[in-house]
Symmetry: C2
Subunit: 333 residues, 2 copies
DNA sequence: TCTCTTTTTGCAAACGCTTGCAAACTAGTT
DNA sequence: AACTAGTTTGCAAGCGTTTGCAAAAAGAGA
């Protein structure tokens, strides 16, 4: 590691004070164009590159944001991350990536590490709803934070309109004539999924929907679908999956059972991950604006950085993406 | 932003010097257990959190690594990123995510930004082979760097064994009796893909393979497959795609043409992204250890950080994943 | 009790930058 | 020529740590 070139070197070389160099470099007002150019030339010649950590120490701003999600491999988060990164970049910030793997301890470790780094803000899709102690810790840290996929709480939030999505799903399925449907979703009490579920059930006629809770994954969807398909207490004409990943599992189970989508059974997803358009048949789903979620979240975060900015709660609209996995219900019964 | 608690506060409170606090906190040798405990207690009580940027300034180590890839949404990179993040975390480092979108300028901007942040190392999947000037700039920066998906060059590299993969593909297809095949891949002169292509063509009998170059994407695969399927100068029994993403596009085109995989035509991918096992039929492919690639890369990076560490070149083995998209060739002609 | 080691602590100088304040100029008025 | 009002610069004090070195304290051996 060769010696680092500092503004001192430039100052010496250009025959001015370091403060003048600093001001020239930052384009501050009050430096004669002549001097500035000379300084800039020297800086260029010496191949100078500002040391942001030193600058950060004095300014107190690190121009770094933290993104804590459960797993970047979840396509939804991939998209969120991309939106966040783009927005961060636009604002001259870097984004550090943290995978919590749904582990609350790990999540809080990351928060602590990011705080130690004095990031300008934290973007987090919290593992679970925060308990009182965690909330206090977060507030004590005093770093702007915005929570993804949350709607309430003392912190700023950015979330898709899951309730509207649930309702949308119900309306669509009803319009197609489905009166006996199953909703296969993740664990109960999972913020997002629960909102979808509640709104969906509420918008459907009483007794028309069977809800199954399982693992929030491809395998989970497959399993749930298998049990629904196997023990058939009632003939089901459509399945609404809690999200696309579950839907893919369901699809696999249906195909494995030698049934056809949508001829034998309709399938509706949620999220609109890219894969949905690749799979056969292309999946009809509720689009969640994941990229915009990430984007909006960092924009909010940046605003929170300003003095006395109030918490913001954003709810982004969802949208039905009609592809080929849903068809009108046929009265086979 | 309330006032930050510093070691000075602790020092005052505990009645010792800041250096003692620093040493206590870092568990240095030469502090009486008694004192240390007292300091630790005060730190705890004051809810102290070390300022890593200050520390970084004096130690010269930021415990941050940069990851520059073209797009995190590419599932291959998602996996690489995950491997990298896990390895970084294990080493007590953070990872900042940079999407270059295949833009060389943007890539170099990121390098500069990361350098300004004084990251401990950069992990990069370079957009293109580096020209002389870029190489010099990278070297001048003096930050450890490891290149992903490269095998040669003055820098350390981590790469899957693409040549072996190409050969493997050829051997497998030959074993199944395919003698007229197409290789649909990305742009010519794309490091990775080119290696695969060359090895594949070389291992196949002369004149048995038609190579098509197109866009490296789902759409690209679809298009190339359409032209192969449409104008059929010769009957093809199998397609080897440059990677899984292309393969998915090919699959879609085949399905759209009312042909069956593998009955009418066999399809072989490369990469082994998760989606491959979800798609119908499950895709036979060459597994590239993406997670390990990321992991290995940061491990290498960390080693480079040590004094006088020599450059390393790693080639990771690939592996055939046999699923259901390939079948023995039938002599339809 | 008095040296001689060995620990344990404190002092002070970095690390590379920003920034408030005052000094030194420059130009504009009178 | 003197005075005022800028404008351009330099001085020096930080930002919160770490760390080499020396001072102080504590044991140990006599």
């Amino acid at each position: 590691m060769q010696k680092e070139i500092t503004i001192k070197d430039i100052a010496r070389e250009a025959g001015v004070d370091v403060s003048t160099v600093s001001r020239s470099l930052s384009g501050a007002y009050g430096i004669k164009a002549d001097t500035r150019n000379r300084v800039l030339a020297v800086a260029q010649r010496l191949n100078y590159r500002v040391n942001r950590v030193a600058r950060g120490l004095v300014t107190g701003r690190s121009h770094t944001l933290g993104l804590i999600i459960s797993d970047i491999r979840n396509p939804f988060f991939t998209e969120v991350a991309r939106g966040a990164e783009d927005a961060a970049r636009a604002a001259g910030c870097d984004l550090v990536l943290c995978n919590s793997d749904q582990d609350a301890t790990r999540q809080m470790e990351y928060v602590a590490a990011l705080a130690g780094k004095r990031v300008d803000g934290i973007l987090m899709n919290s593992v679970a709803v925060l308990d009182k102690e965690q909330k206090e810790r977060l507030e004590a840290i005093g770093i702007p934070i915005v929570l993804l996929n949350r709607t309430r709480g003392p912190f700023s939030t950015v979330c898709a309109d899951n309730k509207a999505g649930g309702t949308l799903a119900a309306e669509y399925l009803l319009k197609l004539g489905h009166r006996k449907v199953a909703h296969l979703t993740g664990p109960a009490r999972h913020g997002n999924l629960t909102d979808r579920e509640k709104a969906f059930v509420k918008a459907m006629p009483p007794d028309s929907v069977t809800v199954l809770h399982g693992e929030n994954s491809f395998a989970g969807g497959r399993e749930m679908a298998q049990t629904v398909l196997a023990g058939q207490p009632r003939r089901i004409t459509a399945i609404f999956a809690g999200n696309d990943t579950i839907a893919f599992g369901v699809l696999r189970a249906i195909l494995d059972a030698n049934l056809k989508v949508p001829d034998d059974i309709s399938l509706l997803g949620f999220d609109n991950v890219e894969l949905g358009s690749i799979v056969q048949p292309p999946l009809t789903t509720i689009h969640q604006p994941s990229y915009e979620l990430g984007q909006r979240a960092v924009e909010t975060l940046l605003r929170l950085g300003k003095k006395d900015a109030p918490a913001e709660n954003h709810v982004l609209p969802v949208q039905l993406i009609e592809r080929q996995s849903c068809a009108p219900a046929t009265q086979k019964i």
